[in-house]
């Protein structure tokens, strides 16, 4: 039992360490030298946020595809020449579409990403509310006859209980 616990703990520690080490750039970025630290920071931010169209689920910082290298180079030159973050993103999106940016813009088509979960929650809430209400409204009123019947049943039951208690004591 202790051994299992220890194994699990070390596994969790390794996982945490992996997460803490990230974001690790899969590619060698030594070649990209900057004079200004601000530009270097912007470059790193951009290549983590731009997605490689060839490899689909990697940023251009991670991918070793030729195309990712070309896009990194282009990003480097644009940043070096003083382009802002938005300018670089607009440049890439104009050529490769929204796909190239990991943060899709809020448009009519993508709005489902924002409102979808809220809509599902709202529908769930409505269903629950509705069912609770329905349960309450099904509590029926007893007619006079039924009330008398209930009263006799109850008195019979108490009489039986008393009888039982009398026998036991």
């Amino acid at each position: 039992m202790m051994g299992l616990f220890r194994a699990l703990l070390s596994f969790a520690l390794v996982l945490t360490a992996l997460v803490l080490v990230a974001p690790s750039h899969g590619q060698n970025l030594e070649a990209y030298q900057f004079d200004e630290p601000a530009q270097e920071a912007l470059f790193k931010e951009l290549i983590d946020e731009l997605r490689c169209p060839k490899c689909q689920n990697q940023s251009i910082a991670d991918s070793n595809a030729e195309l990712a290298r070309d896009l990194r180079d282009r990003t480097y030159f644009m940043v070096k020449e003083g382009a802002t973050k938005q300018e670089v993103i607009d440049f890439m999106v104009a050529r490769y579409g929204d796909f190239v940016h990991y943060q899709p813009p809020l448009t009519f088509v993508t709005s489902i990403l924002w409102w979808g979960p809220i809509a599902v929650l709202a529908i769930g809430g409505l269903v629950i509310l509705f069912r609770v209400r329905q349960q309450r409204s099904t509590e029926v009123e007893l007619s006079d006859d039924e009330r008398v019947q209930l009263a006799t049943l109850r008195s019979e039951a108490t009489a039986r209980d008393e009888e039982k208690e009398g026998k036991e004591s």
Binding site: Q56, A94, R95, G97, D98
Partner: protein, 191 residues
């Protein structure tokens, strides 16, 4: 609980399920690597790039207008390009104007050698050594084929090889309708 309401409660989840199945089924048959081009409906980007055969000769975006044509992105390192080459030769023989964009090839000699042995279906051969022109076109692999109209506007992009099935499909359809339009206006100006 009224009867109609009960039916709705029964059928709504079924309906939702069917919609979900339809959505997921579509996903099964769609290719996630086939991205729609951001340039469709836009004029071809500006560029200046040397000719494949004559390094000193430069071509610009001006060559990509005047009649409907294809712009085919290819390279000798691309096996699918070899697969589609025979079909491009066939299209060229049928009179389809195809401009070739050689994309980041290993060497100029290799590309020229390829065209000498396999045939040259291209009306003009562009040599994009560092991929900068392809980047302007949003190319992310080879082969890719762009359909460009007489005004130099990008109308469609096909990713992957061009073959008989593709030419019968959307790419060919669009080319034929552009050609029809082009011929009609050409006749109009002649008379």
């Amino acid at each position: 609980m009224s009867k109609g309401w009960r039916w709705a409660v029964l059928l709504l989840p079924l309906l939702a399920f069917i919609v979900l199945v339809g959505f997921l089924l579509r996903g099964l048959f769609s290719d996630p690597t086939e991205l729609s081009s951001a340039l469709v409906g836009k004029p071809v980007p500006q560029f200046s790039v040397p000719d494949l055969y004559q390094p000193e000769q430069q071509h610009t975006q001006a060559i990509l207008q005047g009649q409907p044509m294809l712009l085919n992105v290819w390279a000798t390192w691309c096996p699918t390009c070899r697969a589609e080459h025979a079909y491009l030769n066939k299209l060229a023989a049928e009179g389809v104007a195809i401009v070739g964009l050689n994309y980041k090839d290993d060497s100029r000699d290799k590309a020229v050698n390829w065209l000498n042995t396999l045939g040259d279906p291209y009306t003009v051969n562009l040599f994009d050594a560092n991929g900068s022109v392809a980047l302007e076109f949003g190319v992310y692999g080879a082969p890719e084929t762009f359909l460009i109209d007489a005004q130099g506007q990008i109308r469609y992009r096909h990713v992957g090889d061009v073959n008989e099935r593709v030419w019968r499909g959307e790419l060919g359809e669009r080319y034929r309708s552009l050609m029809q339009e082009f011929n009609a206006t050409a006749e109009g100006t002649d008379s």
